[in-house]
């Protein structure tokens, strides 16, 4: 067998990193945190720096900023929440950029690790979205927001025995969990896939050059695909956050 001696490292080695500074403290920085902070600095440099001198005739960075804003403002905020929801664009735009930059580390040479593949980030973002969801819901609809969710109208009375617990599990657990898991699992799977293909390419290059081209082309293709996935997951997370906000503002829809 050509691949007889090929071994894949344990998952821990793909996702856990040694502390770099502040070792073993609650605020220790490892590769994940380092990339998260670097992304934050990059986003701030690009967007705050780029928007300092906005011109009437756009050029260069300003085009990028405007396209991003329009994408979030039209494609997400207005489409999902409504025409008068411009006040949510800053939050949704920042969320989108944050996830997008973190996802793209997956295919940056030599870094090649998406911090969003660590449960910490998707979990935090999902919880944050959920806090906003409930806060807005109660502020706009009062307490009947909760009852409206638990006892949806138009259901025969005996069925509430079935519907209410399902809805409770749904809104308390499944929705935030699925929001976080979607992003996490996509990025984890992408990272594992890329690592496996990269290791396979390296292995075949030295041990079985006959079939080297196969894993290599696959690696290139999957890298391009992960670019799409990184964008799509950022978009979907933002879109779902917008859907939740819309739901908390107008629960009848």
């Amino acid at each position: 067998m050509l691949l007889a001696k090929f071994t894949f490292p344990p998952t821990d080695e793909l996702f856990r990193w040694k502390d770099m500074v502040f070792n073993d403290s609650p605020y220790a920085i490892n590769k994940t945190s380092f990339l998260v902070m670097t992304s934050a600095v990059l986003i701030i440099a690009l967007f705050v720096g780029g928007s300092r001198k906005m011109k009437l005739v756009p050029s260069g960075v300003q085009n990028l900023l405007e396209v991003t804003y329009e994408f979030v403002d039209h494609g997400i905020t207005r489409d999902v929440i409504g025409p008068n929801a411009a006040r949510f664009t800053p939050f949704l735009g920042s969320l989108f950029l944050y996830i997008l930059f973190l996802n793209f580390w997956e295919i940056i040479p030599f870094i090649q690790f998406p911090p969003t593949a660590r449960a910490a980030i998707p979990a935090y973002l999902a919880i944050q979205t959920y806090l906003i969801y409930w806060y807005l819901g109660f502020r706009h609809n009062g307490f009947k927001y909760l009852t409206g969710h638990l006892f949806p109208p138009g259901v025969p009375l005996p069925l509430y025995i079935l519907v209410t617990p399902i809805e409770l599990v749904q809104i308390v657990f499944v929705r935030p969990f699925s929001l976080a898991v979607r992003l996490l699992a996509n990025m984890m799977a992408g990272h594992i896939l890329l690592t496996a293909l990269a290791l396979l390419t390296a292995y075949t290059l030295t041990n079985a050059p006959i079939i080297f081209i196969g894993p290599f082309l696959l690696l290139v293709g999957v890298t391009a695909f992960e670019l799409l996935v990184g964008f799509l997951q950022a978009y979907i997370f933002t879109l779902l956050t917008a859907v939740f906000i819309a739901d908390s503002l107008h629960p009848e829809h």
Binding site: D19, T32, S51, R52, P58, Y69, A119, A120, L125, L184
Partner: protein, 183 residues
């Protein structure tokens, strides 16, 4: 060096606390929160309003330009309409003037012809009058002459003894004489 290496190389002997790699870690959550709060606050403070303002400014500018262009265009259309009207008026005026001139010229021509005809008729009558007068005068003259000559002839005939040849010659000479004077 150790720190830089930790970026690229995975931890060989992953942390001893063999937590499942899929569970979140507190230290990573801390930095994720810090990063997101930084990004959100700075972008919401500086970037998004600036971008929104730039977009709105451009929108306003374009809308203003379009409105102004529309105003200018309708103005131009109005003045074009006005010019066209004036042109039509001028054309009508010119037509009217030409028509008037033609009528006037016609009138003048008719007048001239009439006057010329009248003049010609006048001249003709005067000429005829002259001719008539002249012939009258000539006839009167001739009558006087003839009578004179007759008288003279009669005198001569009476004076001489006349033969036939002499008489003819006499008459001939007389006639010649008369013809000579007449001519």
């Amino acid at each position: 060096m150790h720190g830089v290496l930790a970026l690229v190389v995975a931890s060989e002997e992953a942390e001893v606390t063999a937590k499942n790699p899929i569970l979140p870690e507190t230290k990573e959550i801390v930095w994720a929160v810090v990063a997101f709060v930084l990004v959100f606050s700075l972008l919401a403070w500086k970037a998004w309003p600036a971008i929104k303002k730039a977009l709105r400014d451009r929108e306003d500018k374009i809308r203003g330009d379009l409105e102004r262009a529309e105003a200018v265009r309708s103005e131009a259309e109005a003045s074009l309409e006005e010019y066209n009207q004036q042109l039509a008026e001028a054309r009508g005026e010119a037509g009217r003037i030409i028509e008037e001139a033609r009528v006037a010229a016609d009138q003048v021509r008719k007048d001239l012809i009439a006057r010329a005809e009248a003049d010609a008729a006048d001249v003709r009558t005067r000429a005829q009058e002259d001719i008539r007068l002249a012939s009258d005068r000539a006839i009167a003259d001739l009558q006087t002459r003839v009578s004179d000559l007759s008288i003279e002839l009669a005198e001569r005939i009476v004076q001489r003894n006349l033969d036939r040849d002499t008489q003819i010659a006499l008459i001939e000479s007389y006639i010649n004489e008369v013809g000579g004077t007449r001519r």
